[in-house]
């Protein structure tokens, strides 16, 4: 799923400083699960902004809404009535959600309240780690299901760099070295021959940016 994190309050305040009445829109999917932009976070951010405006001697009026999936046109349609009542929208969706609202309601400025960080999974409660870079040419069959593109800080395809240190990564001693993990898993599975093979450089044309996929209809 998509993992995001709230922007610093100061940045959000600056974005919306000129407005008196805004709509905060959450998303009920990924960002709800990663505690960044669900109904609850919408409520808290709205309250925090009202207090912050008051603190600075102003006043902010807020409306709140949370749609099931902000990245779908049909689902943001329900915001129509509320958007008509406000000057701007503050989205707590991922970047795709922000853009979906902005595209559907072109007259209204839409602002991102989150920084969309990565595609990942919850490691434990309250901790999410990146595990897919959407490279467009999945390599996991050769690495025992551990992604070398994003879980290795350098995205190496042919084994660990010289910085690997007792299973940890040169970049962050808290982080596991992906290539040590890959080695251990392949060893456990008796598939180390996969690691001995040479892999040519990645094909960055695997996804032509901006990416686009059209379903084949049969």
């Amino acid at each position: 799923m998509i993992i995001a994190e709230r922007k610093p309050l100061e940045d959000i305040k600056q974005m919306i400083a000129q407005y008196k009445k805004i709509l905060l829109v959450g998303c009920g999917t990924c960002v709800t699960v990663c505690w960044a932009g669900g109904e609850k976070e919408v409520g808290i951010l709205a309250s925090q902004l009202r207090l912050a405006f008051r603190r600075d001697g102003g006043e902010l009026e807020t409306l709140e809404a949370t749609v099931e999936r902000q990245c779908e046109k049909e689902m943001v349609e329900e915001l129509k009535d509320k958007i008509q009542q406000v000057e701007a929208v503050l989205s707590l969706g991922c970047g795709a959600g922000v853009q979906t609202i902005a595209d559907r309601f072109e007259e209204t400025p839409v602002y991102p309240a989150l920084n969309t960080k990565f595609v990942g999974m919850p490691e434990r409660e309250g901790l999410w780690i990146e595990n897919c870079g959407a490279c467009g040419d999945c390599f996991l069959d050769r690495t025992g299901g551990i992604c070398p593109i994003v879980r290795c800080a350098k995205g190496l395809l042919n084994g660990p760099c010289g910085g690997t240190n007792k299973g940890k990564c040169e970049v962050d001693p808290e982080k596991d070295c992906a290539w040590t993990l890959i080695y251990r898993r392949l060893e456990k599975q008796g598939r180390l021959d996969l690691m001995r093979k040479y892999y040519p450089p990645r094909n960055f044309q695997a996804v032509v940016r901006p990416g686009k996929i059209e379903a084949q209809r049969v």
Binding site: P8, L9, E10, K40, G43, I44, S47, Q48, R50, L51, A52, R54, R55, G57, E59
Partner: protein, 141 residues
């Protein structure tokens, strides 16, 4: 703030029905005085208090907020007071981000029969909030 009128802080106390709420009763029965400007909110468990409730209290004019829970290990719902503690910390952080002293929110514990502790805690809180002065988050008149 220099009107000469003494500042009477408005403190919202979320009181767990298994401990602090009973302790308040005990204090009453034992005729131990405690500040009258404490607004008690009766809650089924400290774990019921959400970060948003704390922020809302400030929106509605509170100068300070306290969650009064059971002693650690004594929560009727096992983890309620631990959850409450996390939320108090979260609210602290959110207030600091706004530029408000995080000490305006805190969590305290109390046994159900300890009326004198309840009263003492209330006095301490009142003193602390008096020191911090009125909340800058009060609605401007």
């Amino acid at each position: 703030m220099t009107t000469g009128v003494e500042f009477l802080p408005c403190i919202v106390a979320f009181c767990c029905v298994h401990s602090a709420y009973q302790a308040a009763d005990a204090a009453g029965r034992m005729r131990i005085p405690y500040p009258e400007n404490i607004i008690m909110v009766h809650i089924p468990c400290a774990g019921r208090v959400d970060t948003l409730h704390i922020l809302r209290a400030f929106e509605n004019g509170a100068d300070g907020v306290v969650i009064l829970a059971c002693h650690e290990g004594a929560c009727h719902h096992i983890l309620g007071n631990i959850r409450a503690k996390e939320r108090v910390e979260r609210a602290n952080a959110l207030l600091r981000e706004i530029g408000v002293d995080g000490r305006r929110v805190e969590m305290r514990t109390c046994a159900p029969n300890d009326g004198s502790r309840f009263a003492r805690v209330c006095h301490e809180l009142e003193e602390k909030i008096k020191e911090l002065g009125p909340s800058p988050l009060r609605k401007h008149a």
